[in-house]
Structures are given as C-alpha cells and as structure tokens.
C-alpha cells in the first residue's frame, strides 16, 4: 500500500528581491515593495511530502522523527532567522519563493533517503504558495 505523508514546518526569514541583471528602475518595476533596499520578512510554511509503501510492522511510511531531524538540521537551521540574500544558496539566484522552494527540495532530496521525496510546498503568506517536485508535473 503506497501512501503520501506531509509534514508542515515553519521558518522566518528576511529577503530583498533584486536582480543584478536589471537596472534600478527595472528592479523597482519588477519587484515593487519587495525591492525595498532594507529588505522585509515572512513566516514561511514549508510542507514536505514523502511517499512510499506502508511498512506492515510499524504502519508507517518512514520514521517521522528522522524526517523532523533532517528538516531541522538541513533546512530550518540553515534558513530560519536569516537574511536569505546573505546565504550562499542565493549568491547567484534571487531569493524569490520559487527559488527558495526549489533550494529546499534540492537540499532535502539527497539527504533524506528513508522515503521518496515527492514534493516541497512553500507558503510565503497564507495568500500564495509554491510547489516543486524536482521538475516533475504535480497532479495529485
């Protein structure tokens, strides 16, 4: 029996959306308030979905404690209460939620092997969210 388990985590971080490829004016036009030179912040919700067979002995897809540990160590410690623009993950890329969602997926994918990483969903606010599945279509 294959099932999918989703766990939700929280991290708070600041960022400024600004592209070196654009002029000051183009940056202001593209990013609006998000281009404020002093930055601003969000409480991000990170939803991690893993899939796999339900182990008949334990009744679980994987040890949830292990998932919590990997997410805490690799994602929350790295991004929580940080300025995203100062981190190596965003030296080249603009720290939009698209890029943060993709970065979290790429950090977790090789580090959590107990079940298949299906998807990372990132809520920047309760009004918008982003999903990344390694480039695969998402149809569930």
């Amino acid at each position: 029996m294959k099932a999918y388990l989703t766990k939700r985590y929280w991290l708070s971080a600041s960022h400024r959306l600004h592209s070196e490829k654009l002029t000051e004016e183009q940056n202001r036009a593209t990013y609006g308030k998000c281009n404020n030179p002093y930055g601003h912040g969000h409480n991000y919700a990170v939803e991690v979905t893993v899939g796999g067979q339900i182990d008949p002995a334990s009744g679980m897809i994987c040890d949830l404690g292990e998932l919590d540990c990997v997410v805490a160590r690799e994602v929350l410690e790295r991004f929580d209460h940080q300025n995203l623009n100062c981190l190596p993950e965003f030296r080249e890329a603009v720290p939009t939620s698209e890029n943060l969602c993709k970065a979290i997926y790429q950090i977790l994918q090789p580090r959590f092997r107990a079940a298949h990483l299906e998807k990372v969903r990132l809520e920047e606010t309760s009004m918008n969210s982003f999903e990344y599945s390694g480039g695969e279509e998402i149809d569930r």
Partner: protein, 171 residues
C-alpha cells in the same frame, strides 16, 4: 536542469476554508468539452490511540514511536478530506449529490471512529497500528465500495494541522 514550479494564489486558500470545494480540470487534448470535476468534502472526528509493536521490546517501542508508545493512549482531532471525481450529470449539474456523500462519510467514518479508542474498539486496529497511514487506508476501504456515482479519488487524513497523509488506493 528540470525546473517546473506550480504557483497557487489565494483562490485555493479560499477553497480550503470551506467544507466543500469543487475543482474543474479541463482536458487539453480533446476537442469536445470533457469536464472532470474533483469535489472535496471535509469532516472531523476525535479519537484516541497508541502505537505498539508486540514483536519489539518496550525499549524498542519507545525508541521507534516516542510519546505515541504510551500504552495509556492519547488523542487527536482528526480532519478527513474526501475527494471524489466524475463527470457532471447534465440533468442535475452534480458530480455527486452532497447529501449522499455527507451521509456516507457520517455513516462509514464519523459514526464508526468518533470518540472511540482505535486500538481497543476498532477490529482493524487490534493488531495493526492505528497510524495516520493505516487510518487513511481503512477509510478508503470503507468509502470506496459505497461510492457509485462518483469515484473515490483521494482520502486525506490530518492528524493535526501540521501533519497529513494522502491515500489514493495505490497498491
């Protein structure tokens, strides 16, 4: 490099606020308007449970299940989301009559599991841990044969706000 990202705006959040939501998926490959509708209804039940594997020692149970291994049990307010899919009936405009879906969910899930101790009162869980994964499979098996007009698409069980399991009937 693969890079496809799905973006949702507030309309999905707004749908999630309601007990019932209808999502329309249009076939992009067929010329005629074949419209598959996905309809989701929510309900809640509260139950107690614990996790225990008899083949493991007390220490191993504690290590594997943590606080959930306490044999006195503990409880949750579960939220169930049932998604069905089908074509819209041209006469009544429904994919399923919501009264019927509500009645099936109440009978098969709420009346069976609400305010129960899952390990002690539900035969399915006498020897099988009532994990969120197994509860989702159990609910699927009860609902699937009852749904005739629209097909069961997904069972989603929230143990709490931050943890849920999806089961789509996959082997």
């Amino acid at each position: 490099m693969h890079y496809k990202i799905k973006y949702m705006d507030s309309s999905r959040a707004a749908l999630a606020q309601n007990d019932t939501s209808r999502v329309i998926a249009r076939s992009g490959t067929r010329r005629e308007t074949s419209t598959m509708i996905y309809l989701t209804r929510k309900c809640e039940f509260s139950a107690s449970h614990y996790y225990h594997s008899p083949e493991l020692s007390a220490e191993e149970n504690l290590r594997l299940y943590g606080k959930c291994a306490n044999l006195n049990g503990h409880g949750h307010n579960y939220t169930l989301e049932v998604t069905v899919r089908g074509e819209v009936d041209p006469t009544n405009g429904f994919v399923i009559d919501l009264k019927d879906l509500k009645e099936i969910m109440n009978r098969e899930v709420v009346e069976t599991l609400d305010h129960r101790h899952l390990n002690k009162e539900i035969a399915e869980f006498a020897r099988r841990n009532p994990t969120t994964e197994n509860i989702a499979v159990y609910i699927w098996r009860r609902l699937e044969p009852e749904l005739k007009v629209a097909k069961l698409h997904r069972v989603r069980v929230y143990e709490n706000h931050d943890l849920f399991v999806d089961f789509l009937g996959e082997a």
